[in-house]
Amino acid sequence: MTARFRPADIVDFVVIGAGAAGGVVAKELSTAGFKVVVLEQGSYLREKDFTHDEIKFMLQGHIINDWKRQPNTFRKTEADKAVQQPAVLYGRQVGGGSVHFTANFWRFHEVDFEERTRWGSIPGASLEDWPIRYADLEPYYTKAEQELGVSGLAGSSPFDPPRSQPYPLPPLPVKPSGVLFERATKKLGLHPFPAPMAIISKPYRGRGACNQCSFCKSFGCEIRAKSSTLATVIPIAERTGRCEIRADCYVRRIETRRDGRVTGAVYFDRQGKEVFQRARAVVVCANGAETPRLLLLSKSNQFPQGLANSSGLVGRNFLVDTGVSVGAMFEQPLNDHKGVHVSRVIHDYYDSDSKRGFFGGGGIDARFDWYPITFALWSFPRHLPRWGAGFKSALAEYFPRSMSLLAHSTCLAVESNRIDLDPDVKDAWGLPALRMTYKNHPDDLKVLRFLRDRCQEILDAAGAKKTWGGGVEDFTFSGHLMGTCRMGNDPKKSVVDRNHRAHDVPNLFLVDGSSFVTSGRQQPTCTIQALAYRAADLIAQAARKGEIA
C-alpha cells in the first residue's frame, strides 16, 4: 500500500527529513489527502535492526550522522579559522532523532514564548518573543501526546503550564535514582514529579508496553515502546497509499524557478546519482543544523545569499543543548542501569529570577543513562585509577551504585552563533561541510554553575558517598539543534512566519528545531513535534485554499 512515485511526478509535497518533525508532517499531510514524498538521508531500519550492541550503537554511531563522510568544522568566533571536528549530532535513519532519543517529553512553559517581554533585552543576546504563544500550541501538544503515546502525570508539577487533557498513559515506574531524588528534593522543599516520557507504560494503539530493558538513549527500541515517528505516525502515513518514504536520499539542493517559488529537491540516491523530485511545495524538516545548511546550499540567481535568506539570518542564532551533569555514588547498590533512564524531574528553577543576577533557568532530572563500556571509558570518575586492580574494583563498586543528576537549561540566542558552509572542507558527496561558529553567552554558563550547585545540594541531601563531574565550559558540540531559521512576524528579523512559511518563498516551509526563537530548557523534541502538528495543519489549510501550488 506504500505509494511509489516517479521523480517526474509532481507530488503535492516533498518533505526533507523523516525525523521527529518530518514523520509528523508526512502523516498529517498524507492523511489530509495530499501526495507526499519524504526524502531521508539515512536508511530505513526496522525493529530487528535495533540490537543491544553498545559497540555498534554507542561507539560506532550506527544511527547518527557519520562524521567521516559528513565532516563538521568548528570555531569559537568569526575571527577564527574553523578546524575539523564533530560539532553536531543527529539521528540519521527513518525516524531520525526520535528513534535514539532518551524520550524526555516536556512541554515548554508559557514563559518560554514571551521572555523578551518578561525580561527585556539582554546585552549580547538576540532574545525575542515567539510570534505564537503557549495557548496557540497547547492543542498540538495535546495532539502529539495523544497520537504518539506519552506517559506522565498531569497536575503533578505545580509549575506545569495548563493542559486541556491528561497524559494518555500513566507514568513509568520510579527508579532507585528517582526514589533518592524524590526524597532529597522534598527534604529541600522542592517539587519532584514523574518524568513525562515518550515511552508507553501500557499497551497503546497496537504497541506493547515498555519492558524496562534499559536501552533507550542512543538505541532504537526493538519492541516499539519508544514513541518514535518510526513506530507511530510513519506507518500511518504509509498506509494512506499517498506517502512514500524514500530512504538513502541525500538532498543537495532545493530548486527554484524564475518566479521565486520552489519546484522540488535534488538528491543523491544510493548509487550517488542525482535525482530531481518535483513537487508543488517543499517542507524542510532536516533539523536545526542541516536545514540552514541546505538553504545555504540552495543559492541561485534569485537567492544569491541562499534560499529564503533575504534577512541574512539563515543559520544564525544557533541554540545548543546546554546542560551539566553531576555523578554520584551511593553506599548501597542502586542497579539504576535497569529501566528507562529518567523517572523524576524538578522544575523549581525553571524560571529566571532577577535576584540571581543573570538570565535563565532550567530543570533537573535524576538518571542513569550510561552503558557498561561507555561508563568505564567516558563517564568514569576522574579521581579513580584508570587501570589495574584499583580500576577493576572501582568499576565493580561504582557501576551498580551510581546515578547522576542532569540539569538542562536556557541557551541564549546570539546572532554570531551560527551554522554555515565551510569554505574549504567538503563532505563525501563533494558538498561544503557544515561549519559551526559558537561561543556561549556568559549567562548560559552562569545558569549552569547555579544549577550545578543545586544538583550538588540535592545529592548531598540524598546521602551520596561520592560525587564527581559538574564541569562547566563553553560548548563546542550539540545534539539539540535549534534556532537557526527563527520564526517571527518581521521578515527582516526572522526567516519563517508564525505558520512556518518562509518569508521569501510562498511554497517553502521550514518545520523543525530551526524555527525555535528561544531554547526553552532543552528537551526540545516535544515542542518540535507540537510545532510539526500545528504547521502541518496550517500548511494543509493553505494548500486547500490553493495558496501554495
Binding site: 553498545e54 557498561p372 584508570r386 589495574g388
Partner: protein, 164 residues
C-alpha cells in the same frame, strides 16, 4: 506462558553449551595477530583488568575481541598495534635488559613497564579495546561467559529475552 518458558529454557541451554565449548579450551586460530603478538597484548590487557578474586581480561577472552576488532571494524589500527608493541618492547629492554617478552615479566615488572607508557596513545588504545572486550557483547569474542557484566552487575534482556 508455556511457550515463553520453554523458549527461555532453550536459550539457557544454548548459553550453557556455549560456555562449555569455551571452557574446553578449544584452540582458536588468530585472524590477524601472530600467537606471539597475542601473548604480549594479552599480558598487557591482563594488567589493565587483572584476574584476582574474580575473573579478568584473560578469562573474558579480551584478546579474542582485539583480534576480531583488528580483523573487522578496527582494521585500520593494525599498524598502530604493531608500532605500539615495538615501542613497548624497546621500553621493556631499557627497563629489564635480561627479559625476553612482556608476557614472561613478573606481574610487578609488567606494572612498572605499563606505568612508564601509560600516557602513550598505544596504551590508551589497548586500554579502550580491553574495556570493550571485557564489557562489550559476547558475540565480538570477548566478555566470554558474560565475565565483565557479572563483575559490574549488568544484565541485558533484548526484547525480554536473555542475551545470547
Amino acid at each position: 506462558m508455556q511457550d515463553d518458558f520453554s523458549r527461555r529454557r532453550l536459550m539457557e541451554l544454548a548459553v550453557l553449551w556455549q560456555s562449555a565449548a569455551v571452557a574446553s579450551g578449544k584452540p582458536r586460530a588468530w585472524k590477524i595477530l601472530t600467537s606471539e603478538e597475542a601473548g604480549e597484548i594479552e599480558a598487557i590487557a591482563a594488567q589493565i583488568i587483572p584476574s584476582d578474586a574474580t575473573a579478568g581480561a584473560r578469562e573474558a577472552g579480551v584478546i579474542h575481541f582485539i583480534d576480531y576488532a583488528l580483523a573487522t571494524f578496527d582494521r585500520h589500527k593494525r599498524q598502530a598495534y604493531r608500532d605500539g608493541l615495538q615501542m613497548a618492547q624497546t621500553r621493556r629492554r631499557e627497563l629489564f635488559p635480561d627479559s625476553t617478552s612482556v608476557a614472561t615479566l613478573s606481574g610487578a615488572d609488567q606494572q612498572r613497564l605499563l606505568t612508564s607508557i601509560e600516557t602513550t596513545p598505544f596504551f590508551e588504545m589497548v586500554r579502550a579495546h580491553t574495556i570493550m572486550g571485557f564489557l562489550g557483547n559476547p558475540e565480538y569474542g570477548g566478555n566470554q561467559g558474560k565475565t565483565g557484566w557479572k563483575l559490574i552487575g549488568f544484565e541485558d534482556g533484548h526484547g525480554g529475552e536473555p542475551h545470547r
